[in-house]
Amino acid sequence: MERPSLVYIQTLSRGDKSFEEKIIKLIKTEFPKEVKKYFDALKRKKYLKAAEHVHKIRHKLSILGLKKSYELAEEYEHDLRKNKAKLEDEFNTILFSITNYINTL
């Protein structure tokens, strides 16, 4: 499984540590909230709502350099909009991995 990294943030920051700290802090705050909302929507079988949260999470995946996970999330979001959730387990594994990574930052 691919591993998250801060390469994109560091490239973007061009050494601006204050920006790096701010964006990481924001991701650490936003990501768990988005994940919680996603799981709540999924539990209530509100697939369209869940898709909207996956959409936001998807951007975080790209910020953390997770290309394959991003593609899977894109497909999952598309499926959710059609009331299908067959990629749920794979997507949830990605969320678990990112949550662990974010906790180390």
Binding site: L12, R14, F19, H55, H59, K60, S62
Partner: protein, 233 residues
């Protein structure tokens, strides 16, 4: 240019704001997580450029565009590549940035936003500049190439191959150097190894473009810009 950022995701707004802060000409007036609030602000303030997310709950970027009258220049910022075709139906949209946004691509979009103003005021000069010739050094001779006759430039190690209507030239140079010499109005880098003359395109299929007899790959990151150049029905 006075600009505003409309995106429902805070991290996206922060990234765009950061990129803007590196460009002297850009002045970020305000950020909005909600496009409805942005409509109110836009109606009361002088805004030159808007960074607009498309996919927002309740009121989308397209809803925003349909609501405002006399829109300024818009740079679409989105995670959805699929909206590109719809987006280019709006004359005000100067570029389409797919997230995650990289600085080099962002600067290109800003350059397009600036040039959009220039095109309307100096279009005659622009046309005249198309008559320019390009001189290339081959075996210690400077050979003149008629720029509009070039249909393809291909990178090949330390050399580039320039293909024209009449003949091909192999020159010791880089794609970056020749890209700077060719007019943006005609030429586009569609792949890290290829620059094409967009007027010579025969057809586009999937992620490749047919130009003369050459099938050229179009990288994902350049596809939206290529679509932007086309006069789509």
């Amino acid at each position: 240019m006075n600009c505003i950022i409309i995106d429902d995701e805070a991290a996206a707004r922060m990234i765009i704001h950061h990129l803007c802060s590196n460009v002297e000409e850009l002045n970020v007036l305000k950020e909005f997580s909600n496009a409805i609030q942005a409509v109110k602000y836009f109606n009361l303030n002088e805004v030159d450029l808007i960074f607009l997310d498309i996919h927002m709950p309740a009121f989308t970027g397209f809803d925003f565009l349909q609501t405002i009258s006399d829109p300024p220049k818009i740079i679409v910022t989105t995670s959805d590549k699929n909206f590109a075709i719809d987006a280019f139906e709006y004359d005000c949209i100067v570029d389409y940035l797919v997230k995650p946004i990289h600085e080099e691509r962002f600067l290109k979009a800003i350059s397009k936003a600036k040039n959009k103003t220039k095109i309307s005021s100096v279009s005659n000069d622009d046309l005249e500049s198309l008559d320019n010739d390009l001189y290339v050094n081959i075996d210690r001779r400077l050979i003149k190439i008629d720029i509009p006759s070039i249909y393809l430039v291909e990178a090949n190690g330390d050399y580039i191959k320039i293909k024209t209507e009449e003949k091909n030239y192999t020159v010791h140079s880089t794609l970056k150097k020749i890209e700077d010499k060719l007019p943006d109005s005609l030429f586009l880098k569609v792949h890290r190894s290829f620059i094409i003359n967009t007027k010579k395109i025969i057809d586009i299929e999937g992620n490749s473009v047919l130009i003369k007899k050459d099938v050229i790959p179009v990288s994902r990151s350049n596809r939206a810009e290529l679509m932007n150049r086309l006069n789509l029905l």
